[in-house]
Symmetry: C2
Subunit: 144 residues, 2 copies
DNA sequence: GTTGACCTTAGACCTAACTCTAAGGTTTAT
DNA sequence: ATAAACCTTAGAGTTAGGTCTAAGGTCAAC
């Protein structure tokens, strides 16, 4: 039975974060002392490590909640459910990458266009490009 | 002289957003009616469009503030200042892309490993991988 | 002369995942 | 028996960029 600081040391998640995860239903202490101190079992440690690994893989806390509910009753859930969550996450990540790559492109073009020297910015081509408003190649964000 | 809704129509930025930008020092109405209505000049429109273009290129509102202060006094600022801001932003974007690509990798490996079929998740290799905790290949986020 | 569309402000709310604080109770070591 | 180090809770604060609401003033049309 570990106290919260001990679980924190084992997992690298701060005690604050562990309480935060508990509030959001991810990790609960299996037991409490009379004074209310949280006590964690080995199973709790494994659950916490699962959460940490999933988080590091890019899953949101909400995703992790779903994965955990599959985890506690694997017989009632299919591989497909697991891959669905994973695929959705991958799509999300791919979308973000595409958006960022579009920005990357824009920024690289801007940088290429400008001398970057000590002369004043009166004819700076980056400023000019931003002034123009590059309607064709925008960074993927829609006009709100 | 345009009212806020007209500037909104010209730029595609909502009136709410325009006021929000004003609060943050990006766009100010050149004039006000007696009743306090904002009135925007052509120069204001160009400034608003500059802000929008910069935002779509990936610059934060803080970056845009810097770019705007260069813009109003180009003689006192160098191309280098402009490229510095741009390069910093590009580095930031590259960093985010790298982080996301690491997650992408992890997720693709997970997806590849699992059949994704209707069988129950008892031996699901995604669940197993998350259970193991892939210490070598993590998604770039540090243990806080 | 009043309806409806527009404008004003200050300030609350949103997401996501923490992070910290205040105010207090517990445990351990000396 | 007391100080240090730990634990508890509820709730506020953080970041970024909006988004929305309430409560009210203004303006144009019919």
């Amino acid at each position: 039975m570990l106290k919260i600081s001990e679980l924190s040391a084992r997992t690298g998640l701060s005690a604050h974060t562990l309480r935060f995860y508990e509030k959001h239903g991810l990790i609960t202490a299996s037991d409490r002392s009379e004074a209310g101190y949280r006590f964690y079992t080995d199973a709790d440690v494994r659950r916490a490590e699962f959460v940490k690994t999933a988080r590091n893989s890019g899953f949101s806390l909400e995703d992790i909640g779903q994965l955990l509910s599959i985890r506690v009753d694997k017989l009632s859930h299919s591989c497909q459910e697991v891959t669905d969550i994973t695929r959705l996450k991958l799509d999300e990540v791919n979308g973000k990458i595409a958006e960022l790559q579009s920005m990357q492109q824009t920024l690289m073009i801007l940088l290429d266009s400008c001398c970057g020297g000590p002369e004043n910015a009166t004819h700076c081509s980056i400023m000019e490009a931003l002034e123009e408003g590059e309607s064709r190649k925008n960074a993927g964000r829609e006009t709100s």
